[in-house]
């Protein structure tokens, strides 16, 4: 019972982390048809911003608040300066994002001296339910992710901005013909996606410590999640992230960890084979 409770909580908390990462990745992929290879490094930038604020003596939560804003600003600049030039050729755009990611990663590696640095949680300690110990901060991540999911859903379905985003997603030419500036929309989407990645990095850095390859772990699982969930919908991203997150956190409880790592991919590929448009297309 204690172990089952524990397992459920752990699986949920890792799923939540992945949902945060994938939300941004999914929205960019869905709207612009670009798999953003720099997304993992936006996550890293969020983590680094948090560390930077903490290391000058300010409270960690302030860093976590600043991280999504800083990363969104960087995302906006990169979209305007680099990414938008390649919308017509998505493959080149992907290579460009890969290059940007590499520059960010190696830049941060230089700045932190290749070290692994600890960032404390803003909410420390754990609580006990039915004899099992749960970390307060992991619970906070689940709560924040849920809030972000709900906010994101309402933003897309209940606001005029959301309507325009959905219009551009569905039929960009028709959206442009109807007077919607897809260029401005793309910039906004990329900025929003980058901000989400920054938030994800800020929230999870206390769990995994800061290091230069921080983002890559999430990037690969993120792509997998998008393939499983289906490209182009908000619900698809969430469903895919939840599936992959739960799979990769739950499998090591059942089989040898080295096997579990590969098994996640095998299951996901089989799944895509039988449901090529994803869970929610």
């Amino acid at each position: 019972m204690e172990s089952a409770l524990n397992a459920t909580f752990e699986v949920l908390s890792f799923g939540a982390v992945l949902v945060l990462v994938v939300l941004g990745l999914g929205i960019i992929a869905g709207m612009m048809g670009i798999f953003n290879f720099a997304h993992g490094d936006f996550v890293l930038l969020g983590a680094y911003t948090t560390y930077l604020v903490y290391s000058v003596g300010l409270p960690v939560w302030l860093g976590m608040f600043a991280a999504p804003l800083v990363v969104a600003a960087i995302g906006f600049v990169l979209e305007r300066v680099v990414i938008r030039r390649f919308y017509a050729i998505p493959v080149i755009a992907m290579v460009a994002t890969y290059a940007l990611g590499l520059i960010i990663r190696e830049g941060v590696r230089g700045l932190i001296g290749g070290l692994y640095l600890s960032v404390p949680e803003p909410i420390v300690g754990s609580f006990t339910v039915a004899g099992a110990q749960f970390s307060r901060w992991r619970l906070a991540i689940i709560v924040i992710t849920t809030a972000m999911m709900i906010a994101g859903y309402f933003l897309l379905t209940r606001t005029s901005f959301g309507l325009r985003v959905r219009a551009a997603l569905d039929n960009p030419s028709l959206a442009r013909a109807s007077g919607i500036s897809t260029s401005a929309l793309y910039a906004a989407t990329f900025t929003f996606g980058a901000g989400l990645a920054g938030l994800a990095g800020a929230l999870v850095v206390p769990l995994f410590s800061l290091f230069a390859d921080f983002g890559i772990h999430f990037l690969i699982l993120g792509f997998l999640a998008i393939m499983v969930g289906g490209i182009g919908t908000f619900q698809g991203s969430v469903a895919g992230a939840a599936t992959v997150g739960v799979l990769s956190a739950a499998l090591p409880w059942a089989v040898a960890p080295v096997v579990a790592d590969a098994l996640v991919f095998v299951i996901a590929i089989l799944f895509i084979k039988f449901k090529p448009k994803g869970l929610i297309a």
Binding site: A7, E10, F211, H217, S248, P252, D261
Partner: protein
């Protein structure tokens, strides 16, 4: 038709030229390029030609923090030697090549040290896989002496390859009985899935079982895994007393945090990690690794009981203030020892001939070094040294036990 074939021939000529042009450009870029940097001698007007010492270490990539500590230590020792007049009346020129935490990059850069720079000695390599990748280039094809400075599993018995870091036997054989006494009998051996952790676990299991303990959990994880909730749950439900960890970063930090959150330390569990040193302490918050034990050839705390260690540590801190620390787990202590032992060997040999220097190095001894004196075991190409057991308290390692004298490496 005729035109076409002429056009085809022309096109192919152009593309061959372009190919050659690109190939020349590429190889030029690779040969002179960003992969390595070289310290130029400051004594270009010195009378005697300098002795060239090559350092091949990971200045960039995943374990750059360790590689830079090695490089800094080499700079410090070489400066010392040069300030004292060099060796055999000749200064030492240090050439530092980046192995970039990547074996394929490393082989090319080390080959350049050997073939272009014609160094008399190569020191370096941090991981065992790196040592295996570059040793043939240095020792067999390069006919050059090689000193490997890092703690490792202890099965390297190649001629002309000397190891100056502690072996697994030096680390474990007293440490595991200590862990059983100061932790308990039920062990977990979580490990990253590569050669060093597997060797550690094989060796440790033997010692644990011989000393009345038992291994409850032995598991291997992908090297880059960072999520360990299932493992921690198994450790907690199986009532493990001692976790002897060989999960490496990036997984180590999250794993220790998980253990802490689950209350492993609070219920009296003992955490141990064979590569943890002062440079690793900032991976976690101090309370998360409180009580972690390790056995190494040097800890900063040794400076309070050994004058030479204090002098070396102070000198390093003065010359290289910042985040790259002088610590045993990075191989920096082995680097110091290696250079000093080699200095004595060259002085004894009176020349730089590989056979003569290797013969002298085989029985070289230094009376002062980080952690105390050290000596090569004749015929074994490994080093006897003091070993210290330390426990992390409030983010610092404190010495809790020390070997009675120099510990034998039990290798080869």
């Amino acid at each position: 038709m005729c035109d076409q074939s002429a056009g085809g021939a022309k096109a192919s000529r152009v593309s061959r030229r372009r190919f050659l042009h690109s190939a020349a450009w590429m190889s030029g870029a690779v040969a002179t390029g960003v992969g390595s940097w070289v310290l130029q001698p400051r004594w270009s007007n010195a009378a005697a030609a300098p002795i060239r010492v090559g350092i091949a270490t990971d200045l960039t990539g995943a374990i750059a923090y360790a590689g830079n500590a090695n490089a800094n230590t080499a700079r410090m020792v070489v400066k010392d030697i040069n300030d004292a007049g060099g060796i055999l009346g000749r200064p030492i020129e240090l050439l530092i090549a980046d192995t970039a935490s990547d074996e394929s990059v490393a082989v090319a850069n080390v080959r350049r040290l050997i073939q272009r720079d014609k160094v008399d000695l190569v020191l370096g390599g941090i991981t065992s896989s790196m040592r295996n990748a570059i040793k043939d280039v240095i020792v067999t094809r390069g006919k050059t002496l090689y000193i490997y400075p890092e703690q490792y599993e202890g099965k390297e018995c190649t001629s002309y390859l000397f190891c100056t870091g502690p072996t697994l036997s030096q680390q474990c054989d007293r440490f595991i009985p200590w862990l059983i006494k100061n932790g308990g009998k039920r062990f977990a051996l979580p490990a990253s899935n590569y050669v060093f952790p597997r060797a550690v676990n094989e060796h440790a299991r033997k010692f644990i079982e011989n000393n009345g303990g038992e291994v409850i959990v032995e598991e291997y994880y992908p090297v880059d895994q960072i999520e360990y909730s299932a493992t921690v749950s198994r450790i907690m439900t199986n009532k493990v007393d001692v976790v002897l960890n060989t999960i490496i970063p990036p997984g180590a930090g999250p794993f220790f945090k998980r253990l802490y959150e689950a209350g492993f330390g609070r219920r009296g569990g003992r955490l141990a990690c064979l590569y943890y040193d002062e440079a690793s302490l900032n991976i976690n918050e101090p309370q998360e690794i409180e009580g972690m034990a390790n056995c190494l050839d040097y800890f900063r705390a040794v400076t309070s009981e050994d004058l030479a260690s204090e002098r070396i540590q102070a000198k390093y801190d003065r010359e290289f203030p910042g985040r790259i620390l002088f610590a045993a787990g990075t191989g920096a202590t082995g680097m110091y020892r290696g250079l000093k032992l080699w200095e004595l060997a060259v002085k004894e040999a009176g020349n730089l001939d590989r056979e003569h220097v290797a013969a002298a190095l085989d029985h070289a001894k230094i009376s002062e070094g980080p952690g105390g004196p050290a000596e090569m075991v004749p015929g074994k190409r490994h080093c006897r040294m003091n070993m210290y057991t330390a426990v992390a308290k409030n983010g610092k390692f404190e010495i809790v036990a020390r070997s009675a004298g120099l510990v034998d490496p039990m290798a080869c």
